[in-house]
Subunit: 250 residues, 4 copies
């Protein structure tokens, strides 16, 4: 077993957009994806486990044991708009190798379901953040970037770490289109406010009508789990470690 995908259903989807929502800086993508899944009543159709995930189980307060896992959900829309594939999970892979493999597997499956457009979400760590945080974008091509910029985002300059960046880069190499949305965040806790900004822009772009009044629930849930496992401080440390791992690269 290297990276195993278990597919429960192969839905027929209308020009679906893949939205990435794994844990990362500020847990922006993770909160947004959880909220989307709930509000849209998205249906889980695939589970992915990888030998590059951490080798442990985590227990809930009720004694259940959970594994590191990624999941894919779909949402069909009867209003003629593009359907959605939502990539959710409780971890990214531990190694560069595992990240490429994971991203490749998800893209393989998404493309099989007709996906030609991807959106990755993430946090952009800042020491100070405005009440309405700035959102930055990067894209596979100029035309797509123009679309992203027209959503009141700014041009992202710098590295996009982890799956959020890898997804855009690998999509470009597969001739898919897409953009990344990076929201300013202090990055030290699950940032509901940043997730709100991401969801507002996402809704505008995808013609989604998402009720954001319950967003705090998704953030609270994420926060509660994270706090109980003492993971909140670890993200910042991880980020630092990643930066140190950088090698020559143009």
């Amino acid at each position: 077993m290297v990276c195993a995908v278990e597919i429960y259903e192969k839905p027929k989807l209308n020009d679906p957009v893949l939205i990435e929502g794994l844990p990362g800086i500020g847990f922006v993508a993770n909160i947004a994806a959880l909220h989307l899944i709930r509000e849209l009543k998205a249906k889980r159709f695939a589970e992915i486990i990888s030998a590059s995930f951490q080798d442990f189980a985590v227990t809930t307060e009720e004694g259940g044991a959970r594994s590191p896992i990624n999941e894919l959900y779909y949402c069909k829309r009867d209003d003629g708009n593009r359907d959605l594939i939502i990539w959710y999970g409780n971890t990214q892979a531990l190694t560069t190798f595992g990240q490429y493999e994971l991203c490749g597997k998800v893209l393989d499956l998404a493309q099989e379901l007709g996906c030609r457009f991807v959106i990755s979400l993430g946090g952009f760590k800042k020491d100070e953040v405005k009440v309405t945080p700035d959102v930055y974008s990067a894209a596979t091509d100029n035309e797509t970037l123009s679309q992203a910029l027209s959503l009141e985002t700014k041009v992202m300059v710098g590295y996009i770490f982890g799956i959020a960046g890898l997804l855009i880069g690998l999509s470009k190499l597969r001739n898919l289109k897409g953009f990344a949305l990076l929201v300013d965040t202090l990055g030290m806790y699950p940032d509901a406010n940043a997730a709100r900004s991401a969801l507002e822009i996402l809704s505008k772009y995808l013609n989604l009508k998402i009720d954001l009044t319950r967003l705090s629930n998704a953030a609270e849930e994420t926060k509660k789990i994270l706090e109980s496992f003492g993971m909140i401080r670890n993200v910042a440390q991880e980020k630092k470690k990643k930066e140190e791992q950088l090698r020559w690269f143009i």
Copy 2:
């Protein structure tokens, strides 16, 4: 060669339960499994070596050379109770990748033999331990957890590191059921007392009649080997290192 399984026999087993007994905190599982194998005269039917084990041989006082290895034993019971598969060994894998692979191989084989239930054993490191140590459990599902809690265990909250945790998590993903038993231990030496608690609960659950008078033999043997190789202090260090390796994860 990545992870090679050599199967000597494919026994016909009655609804067998897989019991994990690899070295870990306090060597609780390792002592308990060794004692079970001896008392039940369990028969070895498979050997597993992995390229993710340490690359050396260890010599015995008699000059024999032993490799890092895992073994599977079975025990048939003529009293109508479920048969047992015991997973014993002198090491876990060195890498996360190797742990997943090892656990996957063992589950593949166990399932092929009809296994639908797994039990992992382990130590729960504490700075102080009562004379009768507390035992904690986590399970694949609520029903199984209820069974574990009815055996006078408490709900486990936190991480379950290594194979003990991975086995429960991966079993859940394979729609198997099972629980982990984690016994309080100082974790600095092979803890016969903790192994006793694990075996008492295991015996109650599986209707086993295990004579525990010779348990100290298994612990002494484990202790003797460990001491001669200076491994006892290493476990605590390993645990610390593992905790530092943690990354974002809900």
Copy 3:
């Protein structure tokens, strides 16, 4: 996906020479290869991505997202001289394992196109460098070394790290011929002067007529990208880390 090669075209080439130009000490090879590609209007015919590259995207000032990638270009020459295959990229692989795999894939493809001779370029880090830097060479065999030495290079003594060394070593094992050119450089910045020396020797050997007046453009471009990402200081650190990784080896 481990190391994926996408081939756009399989050109018919006349006894082609493979020239390696990946980032390394002083970015000597990288600048030289970029200049060759532009001046010779070389055509890209293959892209390579590897799971052993870094897992991120980098954004340009214009918001485009770029992945770690390697590329192969070819240049047909109508003057009867040997054609060229130029190996360019913005990264080497992160792991030893990835380096071997990458080098093997490129050699497989080059050999399929008839290549029997390879040239790797690189910097040789020195604390002081003359205005006209010394150039050192190492070769797969004595005859080829004689050719390299006749180009006013000196004998290289010591390690040749990374792809520049691996390419010569693996080529020798495949019964290909070739040499490495290592140019003295301080190694702390993209060294146009060192690249010039490499190109002059290369031109002499391959009967190339390369206009070097625009070489500073290639160096400036390389420098600009590197500075914006703060990568310049990292190369020296990397080099040190590599040296520490050395193990017994004759």
Copy 4:
């Protein structure tokens, strides 16, 4: 390419014994194997390169470039004694994974050629060493150990690191027989005296008539190469690092 074996010839051998001679503590095995190859005029029949070797080339004083490599030689004997397969090289693999893979490949090929007996050589690092150093042995089984002990060796107690240990352990799992000879050495330089002891015992066991007067040549050559690359001090450091890598293990 993971671990590639190039076979030049498949010799017909008479019950051949595999002798391991890779670099390690005191370079005992390496010197002994080089001397055997020369004195017996052993013929190279296979080369092995692995992606787990270091990613560089080393240059000789004459400008030749050499890769990390392992080689297999054979020696046919017309006196009715068992033939020999000699495993020589300038490196071991960098990772545990690579070590298992390398050892597995060599054993596969040796078994294909009829080998049922292996001998690994190595140094046993001591702070003080007698003029005639003690030699220790460990074996796959009691009968073989008795043979080894009858050669005036003592029982080895402790770890046997690297290929020397792995080979005996993996051979046992393959139902091959064999022993390891570990010679006391200070381990800080290529130890011709220790290699002499290893060769004397080997000669007695295999009925070899090896002229040891030229042994110093093999040691000098090994020493010269090692010194020019500054590798001598690294072995001791490596050994220390290896010990730190130890994990729980009985």
